[in-house]
Amino acid sequence: MSSLFKKALQLITGEPSGLAATLKVPKDHTFRKYSERELIQLESEIGAKLFGEIPAGGRREFFCLDENTWIWHEEAVNTQTGRREISTTRYEVHDNGILKVQEGSRYMFIEGAELDNFVRATQLYYEQIARDIYKHTPQTGKIAA
């Protein structure tokens, strides 16, 4: 397993959801730093909501792992079988396209509506994490007034 994928899996499985509740800054505004992992988990809580409601009992993660890697993780209960289904997808940015990597599936470059939706999702991800976590204006990258 590549170190990149290990890092992604650790991010996905390492912490329970609701991390934001434990990462609040004290009221006295003492500056507190966060690790990259904590920041990614905060971002992922926003990323997961970009795609609509998460089904009851399910779990979703969507985050930017590094400049060229995005991770989608989905857990849901199959209503017919009652089984919990888990899938993790890695999207790799290459010069010639965006490669979708799923365990047990053929690697493929995404195209059409899937590609459009993915690009749009990454744009929204940046806009929302910049504004809501980092308090920066997405268009300028500067601290919001």
Partner: protein, 129 residues
């Protein structure tokens, strides 16, 4: 295919080509061969750079097409850059850099407040488009 035909230059599919006519201080009219695949921001940058070196008249510009993978790569760079500012493992802010606006803002940063995704700001280039 004849030798003559094979020597005809073929358009570079990875670039777009445009022409602009303008006078200093006035509106620039842009005509591009494939503007639909180019962000307005990118076109502006290319034209601004070209005008800088050719102060009046008309000109032709060419720039790489902004492919989806290029867009996503650029977004990834932006995300990583902004994240690094707060990442304990990559950068330590000095006391002077710590202001109320560049730290997490306490109660109002709880992510439960991030629910209205219809309140989306568009990327600057999309606005311009």
């Amino acid at each position: 295919m004849s030798t003559e035909q094979s020597q005809v230059p073929q358009p570079d599919q990875s670039r777009w080509y445009g022409q602009a006519s303008f006078t200093p201080g006035e509106r620039v009219d842009l005509h591009a061969s494939s503007l639909e695949s180019v962000s307005v921001m990118q076109a502006r940058k290319a034209i601004a750079a070209a005008i800088h070196t050719a102060p009046s008249g008309s000109l032709e510009v060419a720039a790489p097409i902004e492919t989806p993978q290029f867009k996503v790569h650029r977004i990834g760079q932006l995300v990583c850059a902004i994240r690094k500012v707060y990442d304990d493992t990559t950068l330590s802010l000095t006391e002077e850099e710590v202001t109320p606006n560049n730290m997490f803002a306490g109660p109002d940063i709880t992510l439960a407040s991030v629910t209205d995704i219809s309140d989306r700001t568009q990327m600057d280039d999309r606005k311009a488009a």
